[in-house]
């Protein structure tokens, strides 16, 4: 499907579990193995941006990381709004149509607010770079949605939106030349009620913007629809694999299982499950000199408790996932890795744990 042997790794999971850092580490190791690699991240911390040396220049385009690896490593920051703008530009039949859409007030809202637009644009970008064939491997860090389900469902939702009767109806001229709302006769009483309701709910002015937007967007539907279908296929192709990242602790097990099930139900290939930032197992009794110190003992007790909590979570998840889905855990590090060296070390550790698990 990608046509050029590009393999895709999509890193998914809830917000705050360390997806971005792991994606960067995986990218670095991929480049170290000789593959030309692109890491697309969504919202890295300032320090991770510094580590990869990707500032605003990398917004919506690829910037080479000075990684010194045999394979090239590029990084790019996702900017859904710019991706959307570019799609509109590409698919618009004329500059007049393009300007009408980009200048529409509802487009402004839609580009940032409609459920799934953000997620869809991430997949769109993935598709763009996968197709141009410059990279042998692309690693995509996904937006931090709680269940990341929005991300998986995004292409389907766009297709169903484009296929729905809503658009055909929305395409009808709702407003006459004077900008006044028409009663859509085909809808009869229902139509008038819907309009009246929307007027009272949404406001006539915004409604007019929306109707105008849908009309201006008309010529673009088919192109968008086709791409959404291709994106759907891309996510299901054998070259695409998903890495699911989870926070430790028993409370997270249900979330992670739920998400794993959704991935499988959607026909997607769940590769690796990574439980990140696991506290080490610790004995309650510390070294001799600490035992008399109540403060030290409290801290020790807390760390022992955290270690047990995380271990139970990992064990439970491993048992429930079964043998088909490899699970590896990564320890909580002393510092978040924000240098290339630290990212490389994290990537190596991940590789080692995957290998050990398989052997």
């Amino acid at each position: 499907m990608t046509g050029h042997g590009t393999s895709l790794e999509v890193v998914v999971g809830a917000g705050g579990v360390g997806k971005t850092t792991l994606a960067a580490a995986m990218g670095l190791r991929s480049a170290a193995s000789g593959l030309d690699t692109l890491v697309m991240t969504f919202d890295p911390s300032h320090r991770l941006k510094d580590a990869l040396a990707v500032g605003d220049a990398a917004r919506d385009r690829e910037v080479e990381v000075d990684s010194g690896t045999p394979g090239r490593l590029d990084a790019s920051l996702l900017d859904p709004r710019r991706t959307f703008d570019r799609l509109v530009e590409r698919h618009s039949p004329s500059t007049a149509v393009r300007d009408r859409i980009l200048g529409n007030r509802f487009y402004d809202h839609l580009a940032g607010n409609l459920a799934g637009v953000l997620e869809y644009m991430a997949v769109e970008r993935l598709f763009e770079v996968a197709r141009d064939g410059r990279y042998e491997r692309v690693i995509l860090d996904t937006p931090p949605t709680r269940q990341a389900l929005d991300f998986l469902g995004a292409p389907e939702r766009i297709v169903s939106f484009l296929d729905s009767g809503a658009l055909r109806v929305a395409l009808k001229p709702w407003f006459d030349a004077g900008g006044r709302l028409r009663a859509t006769s085909r809808l009869g009483v229902l139509g008038r009620n819907v309009e009246g309701l929307l007027d009272r709910m949404v406001g006539l002015e915004l409604l007019r913007d929306m109707a105008e937007f849908f009309q201006a967007f008309g010529p673009l539907y088919e192109g968008f629809r086709e791409r959404a279908l291709e994106v759907q296929r891309l996510l299901r192709s054998p070259e695409t694999s998903f890495t699911l990242v989870s926070a430790p602790g028993r409370r997270r097990v249900a979330d992670t299982l739920f998400f794993a099930r959704k991935l499988l139900e959607a026909g997607l290939d769940l590769g690796l499950v990574v439980v990140n930032r696991v506290h080490p197992m610790v004995s309650e009794a510390g070294p001799e000199p600490q035992r008399a110190d109540p403060g030290a003992q409290d801290g020790r007790h807390l760390l022992a408790w955290l270690g047990r909590r995380d271990r139970e979570g990992v064990d439970e998840l491993r048992a429930l996932l079964g043998a088909r889905h490899p699970l590896v855990d990564l320890p909580l590090l002393l510092e978040e890795p924000t240098s290339l060296e630290a990212l490389d070390a994290l990537g190596r550790m991940l590789e080692e744990r995957v290998t050990n698990r398989r052997s």
Partner: protein, 298 residues
């Protein structure tokens, strides 16, 4: 600035915001416990798609109904989509047509796409409760604590009613949005609590959030809660076995990030410890005690 505890005693609406994974729900529950213990009839409203608060408080899931937790404390989980449909039923009197309108794809897509409408529906529900119109069976709450969804920024929630009020100038929805916008802008009646962790990304996001609150809404939170801090190391703890080393490093990250937060936020701040207690009423109780102590100190 007024003492934060007085501010919390005064408001009718507290909006708790924060990203996923920072312990926002536990803090919401602890705040609710604290306010109820101070004699105010308190209602916790949860608007995240997934119910969570009932587990922390060990009561049955709400499923949209009002659940009593303790004297003076109750809980309700709401679906913004359902509240929006209620609004339609409420505003569209032609009964026969209601279902067809609700099922109409135009209605679905336009109201889904219309900015701020779903958030406004949630606030509208809260406003009705505060005005005593919502629940016949239950007494009117003195204060509603809203556990806002973790997705997106809290700013989006707080801006929504004003956005709707701007585009819908007339009609019942427009009036309602205007009234809510006024409530949210009134510091005597409404306050915001931001929950975060003293880690790099959460603090960056919190600083962004504070900037957006200020620039877009001219709003300052009543309180920033920094959750799940590793305890300070006793000064006597000299030897660095691996466990102490991890503890020392994680605490150092906490302190570094607290300093970074302090550069941006000098207002009321409460620090809550990372506790070796499973999620549930004992954890909520312990957090509530730390919260009260912290509020008295700040």
């Amino acid at each position: 600035m007024a003492a934060p505890l007085e501010a919390l005693d005064r408001v009718n609406l507290l909006v708790v915001t924060g990203k996923g994974g920072v312990g926002k729900s536990a803090v919401t529950a602890a705040l609710g416990r604290l306010l109820a213990a101070r004699g105010r009839a308190t209602l916790l409203v949860e608007a995240d798609p997934r119910e969570n608060l009932h587990q922390l408080l060990d009561v049955d899931p709400s499923g949209g109904d009002l659940v009593s937790v303790a004297p003076g404390l109750s809980l309700q989980h709401v679906h913004s989509r359902a509240l929006l449909d209620d609004l339609v039923r409420d505003k569209l009197k032609v009964g026969l047509l209601v279902n067809r309108v609700l099922q109409s794809p135009i209605h679905q897509h336009f109201t889904e796409g219309a900015p701020g409408l779903k958030e406004t529906a949630v606030f509208g529900h809260i406003l009705r409760l505060l005005q005593g119109h919502g629940l016949r069976a239950a007494p009117r709450p003195d204060v509603v604590v809203l556990d806002a969804p973790a997705t997106g920024h809290g700013v989006q929630w707080m801006m929504a009613p004003r956005l709707v009020a701007d585009v819908v100038s007339s009609g019942p929805v427009g009036h309602m949005a205007t009234e809510i916008a006024a409530l949210l802008a009134d510091r005597r009646r409404c306050g915001v609590v931001v929950v975060t962790l003293a880690e790099e990304m959460p603090v960056e996001e919190t600083i962004d959030l504070l900037d957006l609150f200020e620039s877009r809404l001219d709003l300052e939170p009543e309180l920033v809660v920094v959750n799940a801090l590793y305890p300070p190391l006793p000064t006597s703890l000299a030897d660095d076995d691996p466990v102490t080393g991890l503890w020392r490093h994680r605490r150092r990250i906490n302190e570094r990030e607290l300093e970074r937060l302090e550069v941006r936020w000098r207002g009321p701040r409460v620090e809550l410890p990372l506790l070796p207690i499973d999620p549930g009423p004992p954890l909520v109780g312990a957090l509530g005690r730390h919260l009260e102590l912290g509020l008295r100190r700040s």
